[in-house]
């Protein structure tokens, strides 16, 4: 009886997963395989492909590409950490019913739903080191003007800040929901035991929020890895290559320089790197994750 059920389960499993996998294969993996194929050619999308073996990969073994990897890691890391921390902070502070709380939440969330284009243009003006609003504000407080988008040392962090500004509403909303799902009894019991605010956070709030945090870390990391619009509009990967991140680098190689072979090789390398990282992480944490079964 059990083995018949097990076999039926297996068959069911394939049936349920099959269509998804087929589509994933077609619309996600086929392009990656295509990139792997193109990566050993030199191709400008127009003239016939020319086989060059691993030349594209050798060309990518360069400080420029290394910088792209570092930039991407910094950008993603910065965005995820800041957005998470600020989102959680805001959620904790706004976790009250009330009209003013709802109004503030709405304000903060409004920037999340606007498109990147409108927002990026605005920020370019506001960050102008000569007369932008931000520069004006800094001068009022006696601070010197900063060349936010024009200085290689600062530009990437400027993009991080603008991205955090824009996406802050999302983790805030999700954390708010997570907080409101924590039963009040826990806090009452803790209060009876005389726990301080910080301890309450550390031993009740934070652990009970961990699924929410995991959810947000994954979502925000994926979203930031695919960051493109903000770079395209605000800096074009510059100044010099200080804001060149993964997706923009591939876009530039493929559609500004028409070096599809090199772009494809970059795709394969990134894909491989992330796959390795994911595999490593999964193997490491496999034993530690526990689910209520």
């Amino acid at each position: 009886m059990a083995s018949r059920r097990a076999r039926r389960d297996a068959w069911l499993g394939y049936a349920l997963v099959g269509p998804s996998l087929a589509l994933f294969g077609l619309v996600y993996l086929y392009p990656v395989a295509y990139s792997a194929y193109v990566s050993v050619f030199q191709w400008d999308l127009m003239t016939p492909k020319r086989y060059v073996g691993l030349a594209n990969y050798r060309e990518l073994w360069s400080p420029e590409f290394g910088e792209v990897l570092v930039n991407t890691a910094c950008y993603s890391g910065g965005v995820v950490l800041l957005a998470l921390a600020l989102g959680l902070g805001l959620a904790l502070l706004l976790n009250h019913r009330g009209a003013w709380s709802a109004a503030l939440q709405a304000c903060i969330f409004s920037s999340y739903i606007v498109s990147w284009v409108a927002v990026s243009l605005l920020w370019i003006w506001m960050l102008d080191p000569q007369y932008g609003l931000v520069t004006y504000g800094l001068r009022l407080v006696g601070l010197p003007a900063v060349n936010w988008l024009g200085s290689p040392a600062v530009a990437l962090w400027t993009l991080v800040l603008v991205t955090v500004w824009k996406t802050l509403g999302y983790p805030m909303i999700i954390y708010l929901a997570g907080l409101q799902a924590i039963p009040g009894d826990f806090y009452e019991a803790a209060a009876l035991d005389g726990a301080t605010g910080w301890n309450r956070f550390r031993f009740i709030t934070w652990p009970l929020l961990s699924p929410t945090t995991l959810f947000l870390v994954v979502t925000l990391t994926i979203a930031s890895f695919q960051g493109f619009d903000i770079v395209k509009i605000m800096t074009g990967g510059g100044p010099i290559t200080s804001t060149m991140i993964y997706v923009y680098y591939i876009y530039e190689q493929a559609f500004q320089y028409f070096r599809l072979g090199k772009a494809s090789a970059a795709v394969v390398i990134f894909f491989g790197l992330i796959l390795l990282l994911t595999l490593a992480q999964w193997l490491a944490f496999r034993k530690r994750v526990q689910y209520t079964t």
Partner: protein, 427 residues
């Protein structure tokens, strides 16, 4: 009675069975600009379609230049590319050599031909390219929206400070110094601003007496004079501190320069003549225009886009595309396009017409770009041109201005990379 009816019906059927009024041949025109240019183009497409019934052109927006180029190439692979589109001059040799473009020689001489001699020489394909001692390529491009960079200056500001309009590099440095206004550590007004961009650098290169490639196109030749050009900017930004480098890449930087000029944050800028309408309408001061300053000589690049036909499109669509392109470059249309946008008219007869002549008399600023054409510099007809612009020069200029590399280092590396690319195409 019935027989007569049959005869009438028969005759009627015969009359209708003759060559029926054919459906118009439909062809696509892909373009890559939005805003005002798009409106003007779409209006003209509509007018073209209404002016005749043989062809119908459908125009669609395809993103910016590079997205459009990518889509055209991808579409060419699957044989769904449009019959006609427009493309920047620097990309033409590459596309021609890649076999994508259709020759227009036969069309131009044919029944629905056009008077090639009437085109403004500096704006045509023949006037744009230096064929490097080889046989010139056949006609495959007609000018669409063409422009040159000019010097815009705030006439009120210059008059107030008693500054003369600069005609040489030294005078430009001088003027920029006099126009810059500083308050404590901040610069309230810059004397000069220009995007640190391939197009303007190309102008400076030639003003300094240099060229991009050797006369036979086999080697890069810009190292020394290109460095002089770049160093001019470096000095203005970092030593004199009278020039602002607008932040952002490509057109974002151009927009910053335009906005700064309108807001009187800068006294003089270099930018395209195409913005003249925009500046005049939005500036609250008198806008002056002048030639780009000279050094060893007066020189200016031209820019903008050309109409081209796609070789792989079906013959009927190409015919329709040609009819559209020819019509768009006819004197009447080039006048209306020019007046609506600020780009230059491409036909001599249009420029010499009483309408345009009186327009220029009332708006002398518009004539500057046209007059400046006598200093127009050619581009080498080499497939390496596009790569050199996009990969070798454009992304690397700003490093000098930002101080992370010297202009000498940049030009040496650029020279090397350019020669590699030329070698790649020569194979």
């Amino acid at each position: 009675m019935r027989r007569m009816l049959a005869v009438v019906l028969g005759l009627w059927w015969l009359a209708g069975a003759g060559p029926a009024a054919a459906d118009p041949i439909v062809a696509q025109f892909w373009y890559s600009f939005g805003g005002k240019n798009r409106e003007v183009t779409e209006a003209h497409i509509k007018k073209f379609n209404e002016s005749q019934s043989k062809y119908r052109i459908e125009g669609t927006f395809q993103g910016d230049y590079f997205q459009a180029l990518a889509k055209i190439r991808a579409a060419a692979i699957t044989k769904t590319a449009p019959a006609a589109f427009h493309v920047v001059g620097e990309a033409l040799p590459n596309l021609w050599q890649g076999g994508m473009l259709e020759s227009m020689e036969e069309y131009a001489k044919g029944a629905n031909g056009t008077d090639l001699a009437d085109f403004v020489p500096g704006l045509t394909q023949a006037g744009y390219f230096d064929y490097l001692g080889k046989k010139p390529a056949p006609l495959f491009a007609l000018p669409f929206f063409r422009s040159t960079p000019i010097l815009y200056y705030n006439a009120d500001m210059l008059a107030a400070k008693g500054v003369k309009v600069p005609a040489t590099w030294d005078e430009l440095r001088d003027a920029a110094g006099k126009l810059t206004v500083r308050e404590g550590g901040d610069t309230k007004v810059y004397g000069f601003e220009v995007p640190v961009d391939w197009w303007f650098w190309y102008g400076l290169l030639h003003q300094a007496g240099g060229t991009l490639m050797s006369a036979d196109g086999k080697r890069a030749a810009f190292k020394d004079k290109g460095q002089e050009a770049l160093q001019f900017w470096v000095d203005l930004v970092n030593r004199d501190r009278t020039m602002k480098q607008p932040p952002g890449k490509d057109y974002s930087a151009w927009e910053v320069a335009n906005t700064d000029f309108i807001n009187q944050r800068v006294g003089m800028i270099f930018t395209s003549t195409a913005f003249l309408n925009y500046m005049t309408e939005n500036a609250k001061f008198k806008v002056g225009t002048a030639f780009l300053p000279a050094k060893a000589k007066a020189a200016v690049p031209t820019g903008g886009t050309y109409f081209v036909l796609l070789k792989d499109a079906p013959a009927a669509q190409k015919e329709a595309g040609w009819a559209f392109i020819k019509w768009m470059t006819d004197p009447e249309q080039t006048v209306s396009l020019s007046k609506a946008t600020g780009y230059m008219p491409v036909r001599l007869s249009a420029i010499n017409s009483p309408a345009m002549q009186s327009f220029y008399k009332d708006n002398p600023n518009y004539k500057v770009a046209l007059d400046q054409l006598r200093n127009a510099q050619r581009f080498p007809f080499s497939p390496a041109l596009f790569d050199i612009q996009r990969e070798v020069i454009q992304p690397n200029l700003e490093a000098a201005v930002l101080g992370s590399k010297t202009s000498a280092e940049i030009m040496t590396t650029a020279d090397q990379k350019a020669n590699e690319i030329i070698g790649k195409y020569d194979r």
